[in-house]
Amino acid sequence: MDNTKEILTLAVEIGDAMLRCGAEIYRVEDSVIRILEAFGLDDFDAYVLSNGIFASANESREDACSVVRYVPLSATHLGKLAALNQLTRDICNHKCSVAEASERLKQCKKIPVYANAVQLLACGIGCAAFTFMFGGHLPEALYAFFVGLIEQLALFVCRKRKVSRFLTNVYVSLLISLLSLPAAAGVIPVLHDKVVIGAIMPLVPGIALTTSIRDFYNGDYLSGTIHLIDALLTALCIAVGIALPILLLRYGGNLPV
């Protein structure tokens, strides 16, 4: 095997891409190992963490090589994950060569997110739907719809300016809290709490919690802990963002919030 390096790099690249779009550790590790096996390597090791990949192959031979990758926590992209999974499956069924696989990997990485307008509308409708599910009625849902629209706009801005994840959560939940103050102060006759609950749903760390549990379940305690702390801190940031404006108004403005 003279292309050990090429194969190992491809396998780790695919693993890297999967990790970036939110796969759990076990899936990434399993995929890397299966790809290496499918291309005929038998002496290798792969270790995956929630923000790094370490892999080596043919340690004891002449063509020994190893790859180390740093993978920062980033936004979940389920479409890429599905495409990468399909690619891994095809490689394991020996349906594509190393060169073809690298070409397909490039295409997988280019899969776009939904258009901004679609995301905007989705966020608005999602917030409205959650408000309704958690006991709001039509006026609350309508209010949450508009809060959701502005919220997604703020998320776009934060993403563009590359604001850190925690600050994004604080800023956006601050915004939600501010936007819902007219309801809290009784200017607009809707239930304040239902609007806020619906509107914070896009920020709530559901994915981090789920991934964390699955990592723990598969015995990847370190990665599970990282995701769990991520989930807890996100929840804390939301709580701080929501509470601050209410506190300020209650003691500064003497409003019955």
Partner: protein, 144 residues
Amino acid sequence: MSYVLQFFIAAVATVTFAILFAAPKKELVFCGVSGGLAWLVYFILYRQSGNVVLGSLVATFVLTILSRILAVARCNPATIYLVSGIFPLVPGAGIYYTAYYLISGMPAKCSAKGLETFEIALAIVFGIIFGFSIPETLFHKRKQ
């Protein structure tokens, strides 16, 4: 009728979140169905027993099984359906009320809500763990 409405609204909510997380277009409907069903299970159990934790546990379990069945049937990672469908069950309301009671000087209510939020999170944890503890082979047999 109210059940149908709840299912429908939860399905819509799940689909919008699947869009925010860039799920493949073909899978959106399946994400919606899994999220809707999970919420329906939660809603019915909550109505019948008044117990949020039990509802979350069973609903997460059902969602995990459903995600795994869909994963095998649609040749996709279970993550896609699980991650979108979990949102209706995640205790977002708990986070809000805990923070709200904390700043409102109601420590008893705050700790009660905080504990409930923690219990719901634990219920979700065990729902997923029980769902994944069913051996993979069972799902593959069903496919034939």
